[in-house]
Symmetry: C2
Subunit: 404 residues, 2 copies
């Protein structure tokens, strides 16, 4: 018999009917003899509703009080699910973040997990109870409630699975696994049986938000076997693990990320330290930079100036521009150009770079589809290109058709 950690997202527990369906699903695993720990998110739109309620009173509430408010959503979910399992007649107990000793840092709104003191969970499992855990929340050293930010419940589930040395951590979502591309948009996109942590990380960071990166990173660090499954249908999903059986040269997915903006700094002095100055400035303000492209100067290596382009999250675009403009003198550039009419299209696959021709095939597909490439970035398991936003879907379709 196994120790299974499951996680169900907000849409899986949206109303009484959904809760009952999930309860029967949990009951099935439990009655097979498994030890069950189940992490739940807030119901459906609860979190959005609570944020709206808060903003009616204060448009800029402190993050501490926002966490106090939002954490009630998951608490409600676990209590209601416990009632559903009680009705089925199974022994169950619901627990909040502080009750399971989910200790985090002080970073309200996007706290990082420091430690899980899962003794309470273990005690309850020893009593053969189903343990329901409120996801997304923890408690800091002041005993104040924190929330883990986006993808927080996934992270809660993985942290508990790691701590308990669970046999598997099953993430139930509204899709039935990880796909080679967005199945709603790309013809021929198909589900993967297996994927490595690294591939999953690249796919997630590229906008395929099945699993949050923090959860995958933690799963990789503690070698937690992850499974992505549908909470609506009963069929096998996608396993995320260290090594997969798939052919090393095969790419595992094509993804699009439209939530980016490109900033080009034109005419900076061609001297050492300039890139350092620019990116330190941005880092200090917590602006993450993704692809960076540095021109080799205007025409020849000995040019006096060069251009530096990079991408940031769309939400950071205006702030990045302001920062650069405020520091125009010390940076010494001639002009800045900014656009959010771009999208990043990427292919991901373990060991992809080792196989020659993968990038070339991608570029060929884009050429055939007449999509212009603005920037290119590569890593061990990924090739990304920046294209015009209006051409992004066509680019994904063309690449997908070429590879799959």
């Amino acid at each position: 018999m196994a120790l299974i950690v499951q996680k169900y997202g907000g849409s899986s527990v949206a109303d009484a009917e959904c809760i009952e369906r999930v309860a029967w699903r949990i009951a099935e695993s439990y009655t097979e003899g498994h030890d069950m720990v189940v992490v739940l998110s807030a119901q459906g739109d609860t979190t959005d509703d609570l944020i709206a309620k808060a903003n009616e009173i204060n448009e800029k509430p402190s993050k501490r009080e926002m966490d106090m408010l939002l954490s009630t959503g998951e608490q409600m979910s676990v209590a209601l699910m416990a009632m559903a399992l009680e009705k089925i007649g199974l022994p169950v107990v619901s627990l909040t973040g502080w009750q399971i000793g989910m200790q985090t840092d002080d970073n309200y709104g996007s706290a990082k997990i420091k430690k899980v003191t899962a003794s309470r969970i273990k005690t309850e499992l020893d009593r053969r109870r189903i343990v329901l855990v409120a996801g997304f929340q923890g408690v800091n050293r002041y005993d104040d409630i924190t929330t883990l930010g986006r993808g927080g419940s996934d992270t809660t589930a993985v942290a508990i699975a790691a701590n308990l040395n669970a046999d598997v951590c099953q993430i139930f979502t509204d899709v039935d696994g990880v796909y080679t591309s967005d199945p709603r948009k790309i013809q021929g996109a198909h589900k993967l049986d297996e994927i490595t942590y690294d591939e999953m990380l690249e796919l997630a960071s590229l906008g395929a938000q099945v699993l949050h990166n923090r959860a995958v990173e933690m799963a990789k660090l503690y070698a937690v076997k992850l499974e992505v499954l549908s909470s609506f249908e009963k069929k096998s999903g996608t396993e995320v693990k260290e090594v997969t059986k798939v052919e090393q040269t095969k790419i595992s997915g094509v993804a699009k990320d439209a939530d980016i903006a490109r900033i080009a700094i034109v005419g900076v002095k061609n001297e050492p330290g300039i890139a350092y100055k620019i990116f330190r400035l941005l880092a200090r303000e917590d602006i993450n930079v993704d692809i960076i492209l540095q021109s080799i100067g205007r025409g020849h290596e000995l040019s006096e100036t060069k251009d530096i382009s990079f991408t940031v999250a769309r939400a950071d675009m205006d702030r990045a521009r302001e920062l650069l403009e405020e520091n125009k003198q010390s940076l010494g550039y001639s002009e800045i150009s900014v656009t959010d009419k771009v999208a990043k299209v990427s292919i991901v696959g373990a060991g992809m770079m080792a196989a020659s021709g993968i990038a070339a095939t991608m570029f060929e597909a884009l050429y055939e589809a007449k999509v212009n490439i603005a920037m290119i970035s590569t890593s061990e398991i990924k090739v990304s290109v920046l294209v015009d936003e209006s051409e992004a879907d066509r680019a994904v379709q063309a690449i997908h058709a070429k590879f799959f």
Copy 2:
């Protein structure tokens, strides 16, 4: 400068507008230099909505999970109020029951407070923060969330006031004080400036539910000065304390309690121990008995049988009858008669019994109003009569007119 504990009920924080109004009220006391601890109930219908949500899933959920669910209501209230005070620009912190160390027994749904470890509140007050506390909730020895049952937030406020040795505990409600009778029904009913704990206890138990008895009892025990005030209007309310300045013989109120039923056991043997047998039976099943009347037998003292009547809460009526019927043989009576078409009308006043004629005046008023008295019960500070339910309002009106 004083240390003030305030409590606002659900209707006072029902929506964003109400919350803002209360926030300004708290801000006013705070900026006068007072240390402020504010206990809040769940917003308006939140608790009822949560119960409905639970019952949709399970009509008989465990009390433990119900407490887990319901306690989110007060947590939301304090977080939202904190945001409103932040917007005004004041330092504030919201705290849950477990965060303030509100320790209770294990009696989910109607837990009793065992201890308050208010060190967290003190620390926050030392920082000159307004401290918002989620009422109604605590935590038991297993670190599980409990709720305090009806009137729980009042009790939370008094417990904190007692622990911190506060100068006053102000209970804000939707009425502006304690009245001599129900002002919506009784012409001439007027507000009392002062009332003693005991009078308040009698009035509350008689159905004038301004303050819950548990809160008043605790206030009396720890000599916490209570004030009942309106959260909608700014005017003085009613002070509840040990000794009042009011004339000792004056009665402080007339109250009606229609939530009762009368049970008459006819023809029990006139021998010692019979009353003991009956009331032990009821006590074992947690049925509280109020007025008890024992006839002096049928006509003469040496009668072989007598009748015993008593009142119980209306909700207990059927269970009490069943119990008595099941034990008909051992109790040995001839018949039981039960009715819920009765109401209890009472006058309350400290030291009332010392002044002769108070009861007589009450009976005179009832006689003039042609209201028949079914039972009479008296205590040091109270005279109650049982009347036909249909005549109760007329009885209250007549008594009130006679005294005030």
